[in-house]
């Protein structure tokens, strides 16, 4: 059952740029003819280079922005027309800005949200206790939001977005600026919430570890177009990024010359060879072992970063 449906959705912005005294108007299509559906309980990683249109998409899904074309249904309603009705069913985290009140202690912000969303006291207390424990908020509850560090504030924001048991949660760069431990803890927390509550999660990020840790599905968007939609494994194999053979020889030798692979780097006795995904590794290894004093060898799959970098560099829109 799909909870989010986009059909040919576009959003344009008129941008006025000033060069000297002249003002020129230009139309930027931040999101261009985008279609996708998301099922209940899915965790979707929504990635793309800067300016791809990720945040714009999320703002349309929440009803903040009105699309310039196409149709959106979230939980059965049109977000921009039923924004407030939808608000109770969704949670939103903007990594770049807090949704809490600067001057209020964290717990007062939570109390205001409880009233705004009409959450029963019992349910609020229960959720709060869970989140305080999982996000380690205990010491922060009495601190005004203004005085929290970025990472502390982010944890507060995430708790705030989930206190009313939303069915769908959008997180726009929730791990921005977090240290490694906080990131890991946050991912664990989100995975837990998804598992326990069947919460649908859409997450944008520039940290691919977030995607690897959390998302069963990845969508890549570039210039407002969807360029990939599928699993992370599928994403890897969709781009025939070269694999790497790391060879340790008995001595420092001139670059290895064999068919089907080329040396990209020599580091003393260690040499790096790349070969296409379509070539099998076994005959290459046999060839090297026959002619060189081979001591050790590893095969490195393309990193997810290099795969994504290839997509960003030459996007080929997928049709599905």
């Amino acid at each position: 059952m799909s909870v989010i449906q986009l059909e040919n959705v576009s959003r344009a912005f008129t941008v006025t740029s000033r060069t000297g005294l002249r003002r020129t108007k230009r139309e930027v299509r931040a999101v261009d003819n985008l279609s996708f559906t998301v099922g209940r309980g899915e965790v979707v990683g929504y990635i793309g280079p800067n300016g791809a249109g990720k945040s714009t998409t999320i703002k349309m899904l929440t009803g903040i922005l009105v699309p310039s074309g196409g149709s959106i249904r979230v939980a059965g309603v049109d977000p921009s027309r039923n924004r407030m009705k939808l608000a109770k069913r969704i949670g939103v985290v903007f990594g770049q800005r807090t949704t809490l009140w600067w001057d209020l202690p964290l717990k007062d912000s939570f109390a205001v949200l409880q009233k705004m969303y009409g959450v029963s006291r019992a349910r609020h207390a229960e959720n709060l206790a869970t989140f305080v424990e999982l996000l380690d908020l205990g010491d922060l509850l009495d601190v005004p939001v203004r005085q929290l560090s970025l990472g502390q504030r982010m944890r507060g924001d995430i708790a705030a977005a989930l206190l009313h048991d939303p069915e769908i949660v959008y997180l726009d760069e929730p791990t921005i600026g977090l240290d490694i431990i906080s990131k890991a803890r946050l991912r664990e927390f989100l995975a837990q919430v998804n598992k326990d509550r069947q919460t649908t999660i859409i997450l944008t990020t520039h940290d691919l570890d977030d995607i690897e840790a959390l998302c069963s599905r990845v969508m890549v968007i570039d210039h407002g177009h969807k360029v990939y939609d599928g699993t992370l494994t599928g994403l890897r194999s969709s781009q025939s990024a070269p694999r790497t053979l790391v060879v340790d020889l008995a001595a420092s030798l001139p670059p290895i010359t064999i068919d089907g692979a080329t040396v990209t780097k020599v580091d003393g006795p260690r040499q790096y060879l790349t070969f296409p995904t379509t070539t099998s590794a076994a005959p290459l290894v046999a060839q090297i072992a026959a002619t060189y004093p081979l001591q050790d060898l590893t095969i490195a799959e393309p990193t997810i970063e290099s795969v994504i970098a290839r997509i960003y560099a030459n996007p080929a829109p997928v049709t599905d």
């Binding site: 929440t62 009803g63 407030m84 800005r97 949704t99 009140w101 007062d108």
Partner: protein, 276 residues
């Protein structure tokens, strides 16, 4: 059915407004001394305009056909309506800042109308200073006016305070809605409200026919207090208008609410946030 749900939602607005207002009051009462100080200083500062009027009357007997007591009534109603409108909706003028920075996003993801959040934002009790001051002037002025009070006149006066506040409030909201189109229009909106308030302190006929026409038919500031006060004092209306024109104030207030609400909704739909 759609009707009844939207009605039910509208019924929740006063409660939501009160809840947010209480939240802001609680956080401002953390500093009670500064609160009291600003309240008193607001009363004094807003009172200076009336002091100027009183001084003027040491040289003249009447101004535009109004005695000092009658001027007090006009001034008091102008100041009271502006003060109440400012108390209830004044925060909305700060929307421009939120539009520019994209912080309005945060209000739009909540199940409470952005309008309620905007008018309750940073609610400041010190804005009570002006209504207090206006109340004081009104009490004194009413003591100096010789008039055959009737129930009808009393009702018109009281109702006009409410409808006048609504008209001012609607102008605040219209000004805020304009900021979705042009962020720099805050100044323009201010000149209508605060400038308009300056006008409403005086008998409008002194400004000439064109101004009177403008504040009757374009920006209906004359209905805030001038026409109702003319009715109460039994004075003729300008431009050959009927003397009961002051009784139309509630209708004008309703029309202004409708206009402001259309403009506000239109503004929200034009909101484009910022890149993030």
């Amino acid at each position: 059915m759609a009707e009844s749900t939207s009605l039910r939602r509208a019924m929740a607005w006063p409660g939501q407004y009160r809840m947010l207002v209480m939240m802001w009051i609680r956080s401002s009462l953390a500093y009670p001394a500064s609160f009291a100080l600003t309240l008193v200083s607001t009363m004094l500062i807003t009172g200076t305009d009336f002091v100027a009027v009183v001084l003027m009357f040491s040289h003249i007997e009447s101004f535009g056909g109004f005695s000092l007591g009658e001027m007090g009534l006009l001034y008091g109603t102008a100041s009271m309506t502006l003060g109440l409108a400012d108390l209830a909706t004044g925060s909305i003028e700060r929307i421009g800042q939120r539009i520019r920075t994209g912080e309005l996003d945060v209000w739009l993801i909540r199940p409470v109308p952005a309008f309620i959040q905007a008018v309750a934002d940073n609610f400041a009790l010190r804005r009570l200073g002006r209504p207090f001051q206006a109340g004081l002037v009104l009490v004194i002025a009413l003591g100096h006016i010789e008039l055959d009070w009737t129930v009808a006149k009393g009702i018109v006066l009281v109702v006009s305070m409410l409808t006048g506040s609504i008209i001012f409030g609607a102008i605040f909201v219209l000004g805020a809605a304009f900021q979705f189109i042009s962020i720099d229009s805050a100044e323009l909106a201010n000149s209508f409200t605060y400038g308009g308030q300056q006008l409403t302190q005086y008998p409008l006929s002194i400004f000439g026919k064109d101004i009177v026409r403008a504040v009757t038919f374009i920006v209906p500031l004359a209905f805030v207090n001038y026409y109702p006060v003319l009715f109460v004092l039994g004075k003729p209306a300008p431009l050959g208008l009927p003397s009961w024109i002051g009784l139309l104030a509630p209708a004008v207030a309703v029309a202004m609410i409708a206009l402001a609400s259309v403009a506000w909704r239109g503004g929200l739909r034009r909101y484009r946030s910022t890149g993030s």
